[in-house]
Point group: C2
Chain length 785, copies 2
């Protein structure tokens, strides 16, 4: 039984990856069209590959550097093992691989969607959503595969594959945190770098092409047009993929860490059918089943009506989405009952130890699923076409750009109200049900259908690209009409997807935050200590400054692009006449370099500040690790609270401005008059959208990475600051014929010491418990040695 449940997630990951490969083959077999279509598509594909190559070059340096630092830490800190470096490298590699596969399939699917749209809408949806499915399953499959494999490997390496003690399992999970850190580091590059790239290319292409040269959008004579189309994939596909990959891995990891502490609260030992690690395996099992249900969900997404409109397409997506969510809920019900002890003891800070039935853990997972669904509606309400807040922005456009901007800002700000209340309620209720383990499992359940969410999310930019290709290739009008229907639905799913990503980042960070506190063994984070309060302030400021840096970066990178496009128009004769080809690759290169260069400073801010907090703490309170750990915890809380606020504010303001501008395309009624594109009100709305672009595509989404990465760095630093339970691991003693391993966990609370000594000889496990004063217990341990 034991071995089946631990290997089950791997099996499901393989099923997911197999399905992905089959889908991929099917998509690639579709007709990529002819002549100009294929040519444009190839340019986009090559541009994407060029970005990936440059990114990987930079990543290689980063991974080597970060590995060296991690290796250094593992040598200095006895509780950190060198294997964390291996996990880190693989986490980075898997995340990059998932992004790579997603980008490639997205840039191959776009033209095939265009071609399919020549025949019918159902076929076009099938192809574009097929590409999205490949992306989604690739991310989810690789995440589960990597995390589970490393867990099993470390579980065997450190514990010989049998439960010994919470302390040992902590080392396994601390080392596993490297995988998550690696994945999130890549997300930093993909989300922030991608966000800068896509907006720099967009703004650069528009500024010189549309404004200066007077040629329409997506015109092949514009040297930056390919970079612009590549940008859609870099930002919306690869960036979102890496973001959710990171959330997915981090959430499951945090839930495992907290599961380990559930076992600790129950006396350090439970008897179940899973070798005593049921609470630790549960989140992985949920993730595994989530892949299966996502596959089922994707299979349900189809339309048959040749004349279908947005509503039918949206309905098809909704059916698939809800099917996967409901199946996950059902699975959680059975898995929780199957894998967890019927009642568990959990320690609630300030409320004492409580008996928790496993059903309460199930309720917590339901909280997570509800949050995932509700957040999408909330986001949709504040940013959707025709909603009250968006129409209010439209109305305010009539009195100029200033009032439009104020209305957009206010909408984004007010949207934090229901969102934060929802998050706060989710934290509180899932905690009330099952402690921080409940919070982490709520996040895990929400993230279980990541594959489905990403499929829905990635099909949008694919359809957007498909429409662009149709336009550039001058295909018949009905083709563009069909891709426009998909694109329009894609805009909605993009907005709700961003809401989902924020919710996932918020819950993930909270789970990581809880894991951090248990890792360090501190009693909590008391903000009535001034240094902790000071760090709460500093942490709160970081997302604000990060956002500003990201916004400024877009401006600078866009200027690089502007200069390059101007240079090409000047130095390559015949571009405007269509007799000479612009150097698309140069623009892609410029945008790539600028994006990667400009993300350095925000990146350093993200990684450097938590480290600076610890160093400063060490400088002032050299002997008080407890206080330093609290300071870092205060910093993490500040970043999380402020980061979530700024993410919601920026994403929703940006989304609302965008759709306020789009409202003018079909015409809007302002002061009793129909107003269209080209009017003064529309111009005001365009100004709002200009402000909103970096908000929703660069700085806003970057907040997700900032808060998760901050909490992960905290988690990796945690062992350095740990001192709550005085844990000693003796060196494994190996003789010629047998392997003997002794682990001792000792804790000393309120003068009462307890110790668990576990001896494993040839896989045979013996447990001894001691209790008494510190001196008594130590004497007994010494006697054993």
């Amino acid at each position: 039984m034991n071995t089946i449940m631990i290997y089950l997630p791997i099996a499901m990951a393989f099923i997911g990856l197999a399905f992905m490969f089959a889908k991929r083959q099917w998509v690639l077999k579709q007709d990529p069209g002819d002549g100009k279509m294929k040519e444009i598509s190839d340019y986009i594909y090559e541009g994407a590959i060029a970005f990936l190559k440059a990114e990987y070059r930079l990543l290689t340096f980063f991974v080597i550097g970060a590995s060296a630092v991690l290796a250094g830490i593992s040598f200095i800190v006895p509780t950190t093992h060198i294997l964390i470096v291996v996990a880190f490298v693989f986490g980075a590699f898997f995340s990059a691989l998932a992004g790579n596969m997603g980008m490639k399939i997205a840039t191959k699917t776009n033209v095939r969607t265009t071609q399919a749209a020549r025949t019918s809408l159902p076929q076009a949806l099938k192809v574009s959503f097929g590409g999205g499915t490949v992306m989604g399953l690739g991310v989810a499959g690789l995440a589960v595969l990597g995390l589970t494999t490393f867990f099993i490997a470390f579980f065997h390496f450190f514990m010989n594959g049998v439960w010994t003690s919470t302390a040992d399992m902590t080392i396994v999970l601390e080392t596993l945190a490297g995988f998550s850190l690696g994945a999130e580091s890549i997300a930093l590059f993909a989300r922030v770098g991608g966000g800068i790239y896509t907006k720099a290319a967009d703004v650069g292409a528009d500024l010189v092409g549309k404004v200066e040269a007077g040629i329409p959008e997506d015109d092949p004579r514009n040297p930056a047009t390919i970079a612009d189309n590549v940008g859609d994939n870099v930002g919306d596909v690869a960036g979102m993929g890496a973001d959710l990959f990171g959330s997915y891995v981090a959430t499951v990891l945090a839930a495992m860490v907290l599961g380990n502490y559930v076992i600790k609260d129950m006396g350090g030992n439970i008897q179940d059918a899973f070798g005593g690690i049921g609470p630790i395996l549960l989140p992985m099992a949920i993730a595994g089943f989530g892949i299966l249900f996502s596959i089922i969900g994707t299979l349900l997404v189809k339309i048959t009506d040749e004349n279908a409109k947005e509503a039918q397409v949206q309905k098809a997506l909704n059916i698939g989405n809800w099917a996967s969510i409901i199946l996950t809920a059902v699975a959680c019900f059975f898995l929780v009952q199957y894998m967890l002890p019927e009642t568990m003891k959990m320690d609630f800070f300030g409320e004492g130890t409580k008996e928790i039935s496993s059903m309460r853990v199930f309720y917590a997972t339901i909280v997570g699923l509800v949050v995932g669904a509700v957040i999408s509606s909330v986001t949709e309400y504040y940013t959707g076409l025709g909603t009250k807040p968006v129409m209010a922005i439209v109305q305010k456009s009539s009195t100029g750009a200033g009032t439009n901007v104020i209305a957009g800002l206010a909408t984004g700000m007010i949207s934090t109200f229901p969102t934060v209340l929802l998050f706060a309620a989710a934290i509180w209720t899932s905690y009330a049900f099952a402690g921080f383990y409940g919070v982490a499992l709520a996040a895990s359940a929400m993230m279980a259908t990541t594959a489905m969410q990403l499929a829905i999310d990635a099909f949008g930019p694919i359809s957007d690209n498909a429409g662009g290709i149709a336009e550039m290739s001058e295909l018949p009008k009905e083709v563009r009409m069909r891709t426009d229907i998909l694109d329009s639905v894609g805009n909605t799913t993009a907005a709700t997807g961003k809401g989902f990503a924020i919710a996932s980042a918020a819950l993930t960070s909270l789970a990581l935050f809880a894991a951090y506190v248990t890792f360090t063994g501190i009693d909590g984070i008391n903000i009535f200590k001034a240094p902790v309060l000071a760090m709460l302030f500093v942490g709160g400021m970081i997302p604000v400054v990060f956002s500003a840096l990201a916004m400024n970066s877009v401006g600078k990178a866009a200027m690089d692009m502007v200069y390059e496009v101007r240079r090409q128009f000047r130095e390559i004769p015949g571009i405007m006449e269509g007799t000479a080809k612009p150097e698309y690759a140069k623009c892609v290169d410029i945008s790539t370099k600028a994006a990667l260069r400009e993300m350095m400073l925000p990146g350093i801010l993200t990684i450097g500040f938590p480290i600076a907090v610890v160093l400063l703490g060490k400088l002032v309170y050299a002997d008080n690790n407890q206080l330093i750990a609290e300071m870092l915890g205060g910093y993490m809380a500040g970043v999380t609270v402020s980061g979530v606020l700024w993410a919601v504010f920026q994403n929703n303001a940006g989304g609302a401005w965008d759709n306020a501008k789009k409202s003018f395309e079909a015409g809007v009624m302002i002061n009793g008059e129909m107003t269209y594109k080209g009017s003064d009100a529309h111009k005001a709305a365009v100004t709002g959208d200009t402000v909103g672009d970096p908000f929703k595509d660069t700085s806003g989404p970057s907040m997700n990475i900032l808060i998760k990465l901050t909490c992960l760095i905290g988690l990796v630093i945690a062992p350095i600051l740990g001192e709550g339970s005085d844990t000693i691991i003796t060196e494994p003693v190996t003789t010629q014929s047998s392997s003997k391993e002794v682990s001792i966990e000792k804790s000393n609370i309120d003068g009462k010491a307890t110790a668990t000594v576990i001896t494993i000889i040839n896989g045979k496990r013996e447990v001894q418990n001691f209790e008494g004063t510190d001196v008594e217990v130590q004497a007994k341990i010494d006697a054993l040695k």
Copy 2:
């Protein structure tokens, strides 16, 4: 000795008020000019009075309602005394009185400044700064007078004027908190209502007058022009005055609360020359001396050069400012040594009890003075004319309103970096020097020169008004030139004054926060408890939503004004030809009503949410006051951290946009070309300024009130949640010939109970101490009864 030091602040307050009256008489004796000048000035004065009247009507209802609630609380909660209602009413009254005096003198001084400017600049400065001085001394004098008087009254009422125990003094200070709450409630009306008023009048006047009717600014034919000028006084004079009045009182109060706990940490009893309450009297003494030094500072502000420019005026102000700051520092040095025990014991959470020399308290006051000075430079750097960040916004104006807005937002956001680091450093260092008592005294020292700060601050809008009157009265060009010099300096001092107000609000809130924790007797605020963390999130969201509501309120109020102005143009024939007078009072009335109506929702949010948090907590954790107190503490911390960030962000972004726009008046170099008013770049800068106006004049400054009022409400609620020390006050027993009062303080920690029973009969005091188990001690107490 005792009696001198306790009455000294009152004496100094009287000196301040006497000086104020003298100055007021002098200002009023100045020539108010003739004819048109006087007429316009009268309109502004009457408009201001109309606003005040309407405000006071609303205030009366509010004060009655809030008093009823407070009275209800004092009946239900035995530790809250009914006298808190009296203190509350007087706090509100004193704050309103100070605002009233300030508004009146400001609207009387403006025309006298114009008249003085007809002769010379030194004379104009003397008059306008004289008006500012009246305002500053009025606020500071009334604040110190009210607070000290009530302290002495309560000290005698509850303790017969002699030290008994920390518990008794806590009751004195809890009751005194009513005074602070009253003052801050008025600040809510003045700052938020005033902020909405000033921008609504401004936008309304511009929109119909400038844009629709095509008449210049400050044209007497515009019905809203008087409302616009009244607005400058309502927002910048009365709003700022009430804000600083509130900070001033709250800071001193918080420092007294923490001083009381210093005595507790030292064993509940100290021997000094001040009846054992030196640490409690110190903040009042510093405030008292601050008034004297502010007077000296104001006397140093003068110029003699008839041809002086901005630099000389600024220098004169700086000399006065620095003189008062340095004198305060010197006074702190002596006062700290004189009034505090040479060494004190203080409890540092997580670090144990430390011996603190009184000199360390002095260092903490220096931290506060330094913060007050540095914050002004930081604000000046991000918002001043010609600074790097402002010039960057100017450059970005050339590519349109969108890039201008992004640049302004980014500037405001980045300005949180040094500001927050400064605050964090201030919290940490002043705490490291002398615990939270140090933090509170840092704030007290910073606020000591409030009179001087306000004088510098209020002279700006007075000069601005003076310039407007000169323009409207068509006075010779050199008059306007002279007032423009003062106005220009006033713009700088307005920006730095806002920085000072934020810093004061931040430090005040922290001091109140610390006082709250000690009042409730909880062990700290542990954000690792999920309900506390959830409330941290909710608290963080409130300033964002509050800001959005305030911004939207400006929009709605402005529209009311627009409709009224349009109505007058339509229904009163001859306005445009100058043959008929517009109904100025109607516009003032509309703006007043709209402002007071629109501030309801943000006001309810501010007052309602802390109460909702407690009610929710009571609903879920009926028996766990400790946890509810922590939840409220988490909420307060969230509001404070997020509120400070949004205050800095909005004030500095708004200030930077404003000066970016103003830069075009003298012309700026953009891409090698001189660019002036009327250019496209200037239009883009005007858009940015439109966004920035509610930022810097409405929502930004409101944050100060939001965070202080939240913490004050927490402080007033605190006794309801207190359970750390189980305090029982028996009803005073009065016989015909004598008054007998018994106070019992009982605490029960770790199973060991201690009780202090103090019986006062006819002023004779008897103290009995008991120790033992809870049952034993209770039996002894019962026996006494």
